[in-house]
């Protein structure tokens, strides 16, 4: 057997969840403490690298996007417009590279949710699954948030809205309140009484934080269903060179993939027509691939090259390891 084939088999036999856990820890430290190592990956990252963390190793794209939208229309066609375009293209480039795996492998807030899930499991509380139709009703919220985070700052420069709306999404994002805690910074856990808008936004921020903590405890990756970054990523996810593909002819619709899916995507089991199986809430954690017993039914491809495939041998090896 050639060395490439052996390497491929080794990867297909391996436990992607374990690899993902280690990768998440590394990414978390990089994005929260990277500044101590003078690391600044990008100011336009397609993940929640929160700007309220002082020594972060990069910055979430939603932060500059909101700032850039606070600009008079006529300025969009000047040099400042080039800045907006450059920021967007950087975001797009990074997104194309890793697609929605930014959520599953890198997002620090996603990692915190996974840790909360582990905590729940360790203290013996059963996890819950909830009907898809219930979540279908509410997961459009992410697009409403996405539109608002663009329109509200735009309204400051063009419609005379208060400057307190400059970064409306950041004010209610649980990343702002939770991620600085890992740097012993409690300064975001406050209500700002300097204006009515600030009272509303910071109050809503603390309310969302409360809902986030309990929600993540009750439902795996609860907040990802409402995340506007996830919505923005999905709009462009078809361009990604990291892809998750399904060969419907090999699917037996056993439902393993759906059962392990943290965000409860039913199409992963039911859809046997689509080749590209990256759905709206998918975070490309590839748990579905490792849970699939069918040979090459689910395949992770990078630039057209298969890098991780579902195999019968790999499936049973993982089952054996777990006992």
């Amino acid at each position: 057997m050639g060395s490439i084939k052996r390497l491929k088999q080794f990867i297909n036999d391996s436990d992607i969840n374990r690899f993902r856990t280690y990768f998440q820890v590394g990414a978390f430290f990089l994005l929260i403490y990277g500044g101590y190592l003078a690391i600044d990956i990008s100011s336009n990252m397609p993940t929640f690298a929160c700007p309220f963390v002082e020594m972060r190793g990069g910055t979430c794209y939603l932060w500059p996007l909101q700032h850039q939208m606070n600009m008079e229309i006529r300025h969009f066609l000047t040099g400042r417009g080039i800045g907006v375009l450059t920021g967007f293209l950087t975001f797009l480039f990074l997104l194309i590279l890793f697609n929605k795996a930014w959520c599953g492998f890198i997002c620090p807030l996603g990692t915190v949710q996974d840790w909360i899930t582990k905590l729940r499991a360790n203290i013996g509380i059963r996890y819950g699954t909830y009907p898809e139709k219930d979540f279908k009703k509410i997961n459009k919220i992410k697009y409403i948030l996405l539109v608002l985070l663009i329109l509200l700052p735009f309204g400051i420069a063009n419609l005379g809205l208060s400057h307190d709306w400059a970064t409306p999404y950041c004010m209610i994002c649980p990343s702002r309140t939770i991620l600085p805690l890992f740097s012993a910074d409690l300064s975001q856990l406050v209500i700002d009484f300097s204006s009515k808008t600030k009272v509303f936004l910071t109050g809503l921020g603390m309310a969302v934080t409360g809902i986030f903590v309990v929600g993540a405890f009750a439902k795996r990756r609860f907040f990802c269903l409402f995340c506007p970054m996830s919505g923005l990523q999905y709009i462009f996810s078809r361009l990604g060179i990291l892809r998750l593909e399904k060969d419907g002819s090999r699917c037996t619709r056993c439902g393993n993939c759906y059962r392990v899916c943290d965000v409860g995507i039913k199409e992963i089991a039911d859809d046997i027509e689509s080749r590209n199986i990256v759905k709206e809430d998918c975070m490309m954690c590839f748990k579905c691939v490792s849970a699939c017993p069918e040979e090459r039914c689910l395949t992770v491809k990078f630039g057209g090259i298969a890098i991780y495939e579902s195999t019968e041998r790999g499936f049973f090896k993982r089952i054996e390891k777990k006992g």
Binding site: D40, G128, M206, A207
Partner: protein
């Protein structure tokens, strides 16, 4: 008894206020400001005209700053220490608003991201004393669009001084890693006074926009510090703006017996007055509350927990695995 108490009280008040009334070099000091003063030799900041101040988030190719005087000698100079360490001169101009300096911040490609030091040096002979008045200003040249690439560059972040400036105040911790002002009321403002690059003991006065003053003397190593007071009290709470900048000017004075000649005339004594203005915001603690934050967090956590519990109870055996 009562009269003597009143007299004693008045004497004490007189002693307490006397140093403030006699303001020493503060009235002679020249200082730089972002907006032109309405009049001249007026209190710092009390005479600002309506006009926008510099944004520290957006860079511009030229910045004009104003002196508080109409009177400068012919050989007055404006020296600029740029963020990359290069030294240039800036043109001084005079109009009905007084003297001003226009700073060339180009190129606008982010290579000069950082702090410009601007010094206006004016010398004149008064009797047998050489009076040197220096107005220094730290000017932020920054655009968030440049990407904060110097945020870990110690050399770029470090407050700089020039060895040939007769007397200079160097402020510390004035800006953060992104070249935004970071001082807030309640913070300690620490600084050094340098005489041609070397620390010197000097008397220093602080004057805020509202007129509050404080006098102090630097240590032997030239260092000093004072706490920034909250200097912003709008009439109504609804008028409160977190982005409002209070300002102050530091005035350091140094005198010594030094002989020399200036423009062919000899002097026996030297007197130097130097200034450094800066701005600060009201501390967040003045308008934020942890208690309410944690209260809202707790209420919503409990509420969400209850909703989840009831949902699970209602769908027991159906959806909960």
């Amino acid at each position: 008894m009562k009269l003597s108490s009143i007299a004693l009280f008045l004497i004490l008040i007189g002693f307490m206020t006397w140093p403030e009334v006699s303001q020493g070099g503060t009235e002679e000091a020249i200082y730089l400001s972002e907006v032109p003063p309405q009049g001249h030799n007026m209190r710092h900041g009390s005479s600002h005209r309506q006009g926008s101040e510099h944004s520290e988030h957006r860079a511009v190719p030229f910045r004009k700053v104003y002196l508080n005087t109409h009177e400068l000698s012919d050989d007055a100079r404006a020296i600029v220490l740029r963020p990359d360490g290069t030294i240039t001169e800036a043109p001084l101009s005079h109009d009905e608003e007084g003297w001003s300096v226009t700073l060339d911040m180009r190129p606008m490609d982010g290579s000069l991201d950082g702090i410009f030091n601007l010094y206006v040096i004016n010398k004149e002979l008064r009797d047998e004393t050489l009076l040197i008045r220096i107005a220094k200003m730290n000017i932020i040249n920054h655009s968030c669009g440049w990407g904060h690439k110097f945020k870990f560059n110690k050399e770029r972040l470090r407050p700089k001084s020039l060895d040939n400036i007769p007397l200079e105040i160097v402020g510390y911790e004035m800006w953060d890693r992104n070249f935004h002002r970071r001082m807030a009321s309640g913070d300690m403002f620490s600084f050094s006074v340098l005489r041609k690059g070397r620390p010197v003991k000097a008397s220093v006065k602080v004057r805020t926009r509202s007129g509050w003053m404080k006098s102090l003397t630097t240590q032997e190593d030239g260092t000093g510090a004072f706490q920034l007071i909250r200097d912003y009290y709008p009439e109504r709470w609804s008028e409160f703006k977190t982005r409002y900048y209070s300002s102050f000017v530091l005035i350091a004075e140094y005198e010594a017996d030094e002989e020399g000649t200036y423009r062919g005339r000899s002097y026996k004594r030297i007197r130097i007055i130097t200034t450094l203005p800066w701005k600060y915001q009201t501390a967040r603690i003045e308008y934020t509350s942890y208690a309410y934050g944690l209260l809202i967090f707790t209420l919503f956590s409990l509420f969400t927990g209850l909703v989840v519990f009831l949902y699970r109870q209602r769908h027991k055996g159906r959806w909960v695995l």
